[in-house]
Subunit: 222 residues, 2 copies
């Protein structure tokens, strides 16, 4: 069982070519990342609310992603043994204020507010890596009000998990409990108050035989 201590969330951008294309972005030649603060996490297993900070954004998008949970300290780790540093996995939503992000991109400013607002990181239950023998055959999906918006295989990642760990750990030490969000497949889109987002990994059965699926309602921040 993985204990999640306060640590950091590192999110990889444009790691599925089809998603980079849908937003009109160029493809990165090496993995790039941004941070989401721990204060952005909500527990999707409890169905906690995703809050739209309406004073700041009017265009919040869902991005369903595979989260990699670090199990042991990784500094300057090579690709060859990178997978040994993983403790588990989870499904996540990298909720994004797209309007604020586009403004930041244009001005050359940080993405931090656009990616880091409260409730912008709903996480599913963390599962031990033993339940995920192959992290590249997972079918991520995301529905809004029971309509499928995103689906894609983790096999379509441009930079594989071991490459990401190698690349990041050259610059930033990864610590137990850190979470790496590995990018989103295509189909991202806007949500508004009253929507319900259902997301998970298709076909994955956890501990008690349950589906690995979560739901979070969308509300406006009060």
């Amino acid at each position: 069982k993985i204990f999640l201590k306060m640590s950091k969330i590192i999110a990889i951008g444009r790691n599925y070519a089809a998603h980079a294309v849908e937003l009109g972005n160029s493809l990165p030649s090496s993995p790039f990342f941004f941070f989401k603060p721990f204060s952005s996490i909500i527990n999707a297993a409890f169905g906690e609310n995703i809050e739209i900070p309406t004073e700041f954004t009017n265009d919040v998008h869902h991005e369903v992603e595979l989260g990699v949970v670090i199990g042991s300290r990784a500094r300057c780790v090579s690709r060859e043994n990178a997978m040994e540093y993983i403790g588990g996995y989870c499904v996540a939503l990298d909720m994004t204020a797209r309007d604020a992000q586009e403004q930041a991109k244009k001005k050359g400013l940080p993405w931090s507010a656009a990616k880091g607002f409260d409730t912008s990181c709903p996480l599913g239950t963390i599962i031990d890596k033993s339940l995920v023998p192959n992290p590249y055959d997972l079918e991520l999906f995301c529905e809004v009000n029971n309509k499928l918006r995103q689906s894609g295989s983790t096999g379509d990642m441009t930079f594989k998990i071991d490459q990401i760990i190698e690349s990041v750990s050259k610059i930033i030490t990864l610590e137990p409990g850190d979470i790496i969000l590995t990018g989103t497949p295509p189909g991202v889109g806007r949500v508004v108050e009253g929507d319900v987002i259902r997301f998970g990994i298709k076909g994955l059965k956890v501990h008690d035989g349950q589906d690995y699926v979560f739901s979070c309602p969308v509300v406006n921040r009060k």
Copy 2:
């Protein structure tokens, strides 16, 4: 005494006009920020090393800043009572891979690697707010090898601390132990292996009558 639990570091950009100008940047109309991860913190009171991640950057700059340490949970706090949420202060270096930051700015990409590499956040001892009756009359300074590089009064901040707390807490909840870096005065510049950075707050006497000054050697990351 302030206990620093694992939390987040929020750093404000371009909050001293003279510094924005020296880098050829436009002045922001509202405070913008980026994150530094807790893994970037080193203890300047122990004289820990600042490591240049040479595989990634060849141009690391010092930025001396006043750090505001949050004392109690702040969500949607108004300017009028924002100062009540402060627990203490510290001096900090917002070490920056300027080459990587400039690349990121040009491409519209996050600043996270440029601002978040290991050892990029040396912190002086956290002091209780009772020792700082007026946070706007502090003289920040930064020397490299005993030559003065930066000096400036915290009175020159564009956005005051209460405005920053109001603005950030609309989007992101501030928690006890969070640190806000409030921007740097002019004079930023490059350091290389073998340099020693000495920084602090001029004239400030702490607990035992000691000067509030710290030194960190600069080395290349091995």
